[in-house]
C-alpha cells in the first residue's frame, strides 16, 4: 500500500456549519466516521475543509481565511444537502490524492504565513495591533474575524480602531496612545509586543498585569454553534468582556429541515458537550445515537448510554455550577437533554456574552456548549446584537 493511500485512511475533516445546515453537518460527521476518518480540531490538523451550507459574505471570508491556514495537502468542498455528502467527500478525497494538483497548489502558496485579513482594515493599522497575539494576525485563523467586508472589525484591533468602539467598553482612546509608543520599538512581524491594555486592563486579584488579548471565538471553530462569532477580551485565559453576533448564511439559501428541538438535536447537543468535556468515547456514542435517530430508528443503546453519562461522577463534578440559569446549571441541562424532559428555551445572544464573562476560556466553551444555541433560529437578528 503506498503512503498516500495509507495516509488517506486517517483523513482529518474540518467541518464548517453554516447556520441552518446542522442536518448536513450531522450527515457529514456520520460519513466521516463510517470511512474511518476523523474530525479535525483546528485548521493545522485538517486535510479537508468541508462547508455545510451556503455561507453569507462575512462567513465566506472567514472560511477563505481558514482555508489559507490548512497546511496541505488539502482539499475543499461545499455540501448543501445530507444526501450529497458521500459524493462530495469522494470528490474531495480524490482531489487530496491527486499528487500533481497538490504540488501545483503548494507551489502557488506563499512560504510564510499570511497576515490576517483584518490587517487590511480601512484604517490600515490592524497589523500594528499592540496585543500582538493570535487571531487577527493570521496564525489562528479559525478564530479570525473576516469582518472588514462590512467595516466591522475583528475585536483583535478593537483597542486601536477608532471608528469601531461598539461593545468594546471604551478602551479605544488609550489604545491609540499605546500604539504610538509601540511604533518606536522593534515589533516582531509588525506586531506590537503584548502589554498593559490601557483602559481595558482590569485590576488583577494577584496584582499581576496580565496581557490583554482580543480573541474572536468562531465563526469557524469545531464544536461551536454555527456561525456564532464571540468577540472576547482575554486577560491571561480569563474572559473579561464579550460580545456575540451571528454570521449569516447566503440570503437565497434554503436551509435543511431543523434538527434543533428534535430528539436527534438533543443528542447532538449531548455529543458536543461531551467532546468539550473531554469524554470522546461517550461523545462518539452519543453522535451514533443521534445519527440513528436522524435515520428514523430508535437506537437501543440510547438508554444504556444515558445511564452511563448521568452516573459519571467526574462529569457531574466538572459541569456542576457552570452556566447557571434559573432552571439549572450545565449538568442539569445535560440531564434534561438525555431524558428528554424540560422545555427548550432560547438564550439571547447578549445573555451568552454575560454568562461567559468572568470565566476562563475553556470553561466558557463548556458553558456555550451547554446552552445548545440555535443560531439558525436567529438569522433575522441584526449583526452586532447583544452587548
Amino acid at each position: 500500500m503506498d503512503l498516500t493511500r495509507l495516509a488517506a485512511r486517517r483523513t482529518a475533516v474540518l467541518a464548517v456549519e453554516v447556520p441552518g445546515w446542522s442536518r448536513t453537518r450531522c450527515a457529514l460527521e456520520q460519513d466521516v466516521r463510517a470511512r474511518g476518518w476523523r474530525l479535525a480540531g483546528s485548521p493545522a490538523d485538517a486535510d479537508l475543509l468541508v462547508v455545510c451550507g451556503r455561507p453569507g459574505a462575512r462567513l465566506t471570508a472567514a472560511v477563505d481565511h481558514v482555508w489559507s491556514q490548512l497546511p496541505g495537502p488539502r482539499a475543499r468542498a461545499e455540501v448543501t444537502t445530507a444526501d450529497d455528502v458521500p459524493a462530495v467527500l469522494d470528490g474531495a478525497a480524490a482531489e487530496l490524492a491527486d499528487g500533481a494538483a497538490q504540488r501545483r497548489d503548494a507551489a502557488g502558496r506563499p512560504a510564510d504565513p499570511e497576515p490576517g485579513t483584518t490587517a487590511a482594515g480601512d484604517d490600515g493599522m490592524g497589523d500594528m495591533d499592540m496585543d500582538g497575539d493570535s487571531g487577527h494576525s493570521g496564525d489562528m485563523d479559525m478564530d479570525d474575524d473576516p469582518g472588514d467586508a462590512d467595516g466591522d472589525h475583528a475585536s483583535g484591533d478593537g483597542d486601536m480602531d477608532m471608528d469601531d468602539d461598539s461593545g468594546e467598553g471604551g478602551g479605544d482612546d488609550s489604545g491609540d496612545g499605546d500604539m504610538d509608543m509601540d511604533m518606536d520599538m522593534p515589533m516582531p512581524a509588525g506586531i506590537g509586543l503584548a502589554g498593559a491594555g490601557g483602559d481595558d486592563q482590569l485590576p488583577d486579584p494577584d496584582g499581576l498585569d496580565m496581557d490583554v488579548l482580543h480573541v474572536p471565538l468562531g465563526p469557524v471553530l469545531p464544536h461551536w454553534p454555527a456561525g456564532l462569532l464571540l468577540h472576547t477580551t482575554l486577560q491571561g485565559d480569563l474572559v473579561v468582556a464579550a460580545r456575540a453576533e451571528v454570521l449569516l448564511p447566503a440570503d437565497d439559501a434554503p436551509p435543511d429541515p431543523p434538527v434543533h428541538g428534535t430528539p436527534a438535536g438533543r443528542w447532538d447537543a449531548v455529543a458536543t458537550l461531551l467532546v468539550l468535556a473531554g469524554w470522546d468515547d461517550a461523545a462518539v456514542r452519543a453522535a451514533r445515537v443521534r445519527d440513528g435517530l436522524l435515520a428514523g430508528g430508535q437506537p437501543p443503546e440510547a438508554e444504556r448510554l444515558t445511564r452511563r453519562i448521568t452516573r459519571s461522577r467526574l462529569l457531574r463534578w466538572s459541569l456542576r455550577g457552570l452556566g447557571r440559569l434559573p432552571e439549572g446549571d450545565a449538568h442539569d441541562r445535560l440531564r434534561h437533554w438525555l431524558t428528554g424532559t424540560g422545555q427548550r428555551r432560547s438564550t439571547e445572544l447578549s445573555a451568552v456574552a454575560e454568562l461567559v464573562t468572568g470565566l476562563d476560556l475553556a470553561t466558557a466553551r463548556l458553558v456555550v456548549a451547554s446552552l445548545d444555541l440555535d443560531t439558525a433560529d436567529r438569522v433575522t437578528v441584526p449583526v452586532g446584537a447583544g452587548s
Partner: protein, 310 residues
C-alpha cells in the same frame, strides 16, 4: 538479580523498543476508538501507521511572529524526556545508565515535560496554544508534589535511589501491595505528564487542541508520539518501581518487565475511554487536600516499616 550497564551501542535499540511499545499503545487507543465509533478494529489498529504517513506527507506550518526555536525545543522535548526516562529503567538484567540517583533522574525528566509543553504552547504565538500552556502548568502544580512523594516511597523502602536496588528489594513482595496509595498517585501523575486522559486539558477540545492547535506535519507527529512515549516510559517506570520489575516465575526478567509495562500501559490507555477531562482549576483542591496528605501518610507508613524491620 544484578543489573549491569550495557554499552552505549544499545541506546538506539532501547529507543526503538520504546517507540515500538508506544506505537502499540497508539494502536490500542485506535482500536478502542474504532470500537466506540462502531468501525472495524483493523482500521483502528493501523491508526498510528496511517497517522504517521499522513503527518510525514503534510507541510510544516508556521505562524506569524512565532518563536520558532522555543517552539521546536518544546515540540521535541516530550520525546526527548521519555527517552531520557527509560535510560535508567532496567530492562531485565540490563540497563542503559545505572545511575545511583535513578529515581531522582526520572523525576527531573518529568519536570522537564513542564517546560516542553509550555514552550510548545508559547511558541506559535497563538491564544489557544498559550492557554493550553497555562493549563499544563496549572495542573502540573497539582500533580507534581504528590508525585515526588509517591516516588519517595519505593526509594525509602529499598534504601536506595538506584532502580536496580529498588527492583532487588521487591524480590519477596511487590511494593504495590503495601504502597497502593503511592502507586495510585504515581499512575495519575503519569497521565499528567503525558497530557493524557483525564489530565489532557492542555490539549483539550475546549482550547481547540491547546498546545497542539497550530502544529502540523512533523511537529504534530513529534508532540503526539512524545505523549505516547511518555505514557510508555511512565508505565515502564511504574512496573519497575511498584510491580516488581523483572521479578516473576518461569519467564526471563526482561519479558516480565515487558508484560507488566504492557499491562499498566493498556490500563492507562483505557483510562481515556472511561473518564472525561478534569478541569485543571478543579484538580488543585483534591490534589493538595486529599492526595498529598494521603501520600505523605504512605511515606510515613513505609518509613516506620523500614525502621522496625531494621
Amino acid at each position: 538479580m544484578t543489573v549491569t550497564e550495557v554499552s552505549v551501542g544499545w541506546v538506539p535499540v532501547a529507543a526503538a523498543l520504546l517507540l515500538l511499545v508506544a506505537a502499540a499503545a497508539a494502536s490500542l487507543d485506535g482500536a478502542l476508538a474504532a470500537r466506540s465509533a462502531g468501525q472495524p478494529l483493523g482500521g483502528g489498529l493501523l491508526a498510528p501507521v496511517a497517522e504517521t504517513a499522513r503527518l510525514f506527507g503534510q507541510r510544516r506550518r508556521t505562524t506569524v511572529a512565532a518563536d520558532l526555536p522555543l517552539q521546536r525545543i518544546g515540540g521535541a522535548g516530550l520525546l526527548t524526556a521519555a527517552l531520557l526516562m527509560i535510560a535508567v529503567v532496567p530492562f531485565g538484567r540490563w540497563t542503559v545508565a545505572d545511575l545511583t540517583v535513578g529515581v531522582v533522574w526520572f523525576n527531573a525528566m518529568d519536570v522537564l515535560v513542564w517546560a516542553a509543553v509550555w514552550l510548545a504552547g508559547w511558541g506559535p504565538n497563538s491564544a489557544h496554544a498559550l492557554v493550553g500552556g497555562y493549563r499544563c502548568l496549572a495542573q502540573a502544580l497539582s500533580y507534581e508534589l504528590p508525585l515526588m512523594f509517591a516516588l519517595t516511597a519505593p526509594a525509602v523502602a529499598a534504601g536506595s535511589l538506584r532502580l536496580g536496588d529498588v527492583v532487588a528489594a521487591q524480590s519477596g513482595l511487590w511494593f504495590v501491595v503495601w504502597m497502593p496509595v503511592a502507586f495510585a498517585v504515581f499512575c495519575v501523575a503519569v497521565a499528567g505528564f503525558s497530557v493524557w486522559g483525564p489530565l489532557s486539558a492542555p490539549t483539550g477540545a475546549t482550547t481547540a487542541g491547546g498546545v497542539l492547535v497550530e502544529a502540523s506535519g512533523v511537529d504534530r507527529w513529534l508532540l503526539s508520539t512524545g505523549r505516547y512515549a511518555l505514557l510508555t516510559a511512565g508505565a515502564a517506570f511504574g512496573a519497575t518501581a511498584f510491580l516488581g520489575g523483572g521479578h516473576g516465575p518461569l519467564l526471563p526478567a526482561w519479558l516480565w518487565l515487558l508484560v507488566k509495562t504492557a499491562g499498566l500501559l493498556a490500563a492507562l490507555v483505557a483510562l481515556r475511554r472511561v473518564l472525561p477531562v478534569i478541569r485543571p482549576e478543579q484538580f488543585a483542591a483534591p490534589a493538595w487536600l486529599v492526595a498529598l496528605p494521603l501520600v505523605l501518610l504512605q511515606v510515613l507508613v513505609v518509613s516506620v516499616v523500614v525502621v522496625v524491620q531494621a
